[in-house]
Homo-oligomer: 263 residues x 2
DNA sequence: TAAATGTTGTTGCTAACATAACAACAAGGT
DNA sequence: ACCTTGTTGTTATGTTAGCAACAACATTTA
């Protein structure tokens, strides 16, 4: 008889988020390591109380994770993990799809009055969310786009989003580093590293070597990309006239410095 | 102010299986229909008690489903459902992937002694699971493969699985209907419908018009594909010598009838 | 003062967890 | 036969944890 060998907690958590309970996870894992076990063997292997094993096995069969034999006593076998997880994901994805449709219906009713939006400052968490917001800003650009960001962030996460910007819009890019050829479509301003080193305080404050940046569209919509101490990216977005003016001035100042330092 | 308008229960269930609680779902849905709501507005729109709204919103921000403004009082906005669901699914899929890897590790330790397997009869639920089992049977075929199934089931779910069967293996197919050209690789036996109609009892019992079938490989491994009254497919699988012999005889008998009826 | 915001603590509820005990049945030994 | 011994499947019962629901409080804003 095998020992109940303790199961790593993160695995249990992962299985929980796939819709299994702790017992279901333990029993399934136990069954994966044996072939055709009886209920009592399942109990011994998984460490789950024998009385609880029966309802748990019922649920697992229902979820298409184990199969039952027709002998007496019944014997149980686990579906290979590959396919078992696919079975679970199929349900979840179908739920996700139907939820998405229902939610879109609600979403379309949304008041588009865009009420106080102009004066609010929003925080956005997660790189994905920030990138979508940025993409939306760029797509709606009508007059100008200005970027001030670390080269890493720019070329890895932002540059591709600039494609939808119409040719008529002037795009100014300020950064401290640029690898590869300089794009002809945009006005690129390189911050001379020498100048930065002379005033290390500024270097630290303006372009810290974590991924960060400031983005301004049409002088009205601004986004500040920051990276929390934990490395999780977050951002501020606003259509506030005050913040827009502040950002505008900030970028302009840095560009002036850059120009002055070159001379 | 909008009415709390009741939310369809299935939607709540779907969102629960994506890892949201009831309150989280209600608040998110409520936020989808407004722009920049305060905590109390969220309470009014969603019907969630005002005191509970705060922790719930915290969790939703954590899950990247809503963004917060930096005003006082705070205002909240929902990310579009499209992207919100994608955010949820990203987490789940990453969990699924790590779980799959960990489970495969356990699975590989499995005793392959294949102990009593030979005399057991297993039930398999779910079309996907049945098809994988069938595929496994076909792939391991060394001498013979025999199929007796309704044409619908055969051509829609089974035929593709026959590809891996080596050419040296004799494949006998018995069915009541075949659309399209007859495959040259297999020995196809068509049950004359006329003969079936003359003995309606047999027609009912042998080939009921639900999807069902009998499969035998190497005269040793048999699978019975049935369809429950609820339309959910299930199957019996066995390597029992007794069942295999029974199935062998059953298929042979039907083939004899077919031959006799043609004359 | 009044109204709204944000927070805290208490209580109830439900699903899952955990243990104990029971009837039914099959060896196996006296 | 009888009585043990052990296993299977089921039922009842108690416990815990997380969420749901409500009341109360300090704080701000008008």
């Amino acid at each position: 008889m095998k020992t109940p060998r303790d199961v790593p907690t993160p695995l249990l958590e992962s299985l929980k988020s796939l819709g299994l309970t702790k017992y279901e996870a333990l029993v399934y894992i136990g069954l994966l390591r044996t072939a055709g076990a009886t209920a009592t063997e399942v109990h011994e292997i998984s460490g789950v109380p024998r009385a609880s094993v029966y309802p748990v096995l019922d649920r697992l069969v229902q979820k298409e994770l184990v199969s039952v034999s027709h002998t007496a006593p019944k014997r149980f076998d686990a579906v290979p993990p590959d396919q078992g997880i696919e079975n679970l994901m199929r349900r979840i994805e179908s739920d996700a799809e139907s939820a998405r449709e229902a939610l879109e219906a609600f979403y379309r009713e949304k008041d588009l009055e865009d009420r106080g939006d102009q004066e609010l400052i929003w925080t956005i968490y997660g790189e994905e969310n920030i990138r979508t917001r940025l993409a939306g800003m760029f797509k709606s650009a009508e007059r100008s786009v200005e970027l001030l960001a670390t080269g890493d962030l720019l070329q890895r996460s932002v540059l591709l989003l600039l494609d939808p910007v119409p040719d008529s819009v002037r795009v100014e890019i300020v950064t401290e580093r640029w690898s590869g050829e300089r794009p002809s479509r945009f006005h690129l301003h390189l911050l001379p590293l020498a100048a930065l080193c002379e005033t290390p305080i500024l270097a630290e404050k303006l372009l810290p070597y974590e991924r960060s940046g400031v983005f301004l569209v049409d002088d009205t919509r601004a986004l500040l990309w920051m990276e929390g101490a934990d490395g999780q990216p977050s951002a501020l977005y606003s259509e506030s006239a005050g913040l827009a003016r502040f950002v505008r001035r900030h970028i302009a100042t840095v560009m002036e410095w850059a120009k002055a330092a070159v001379q």
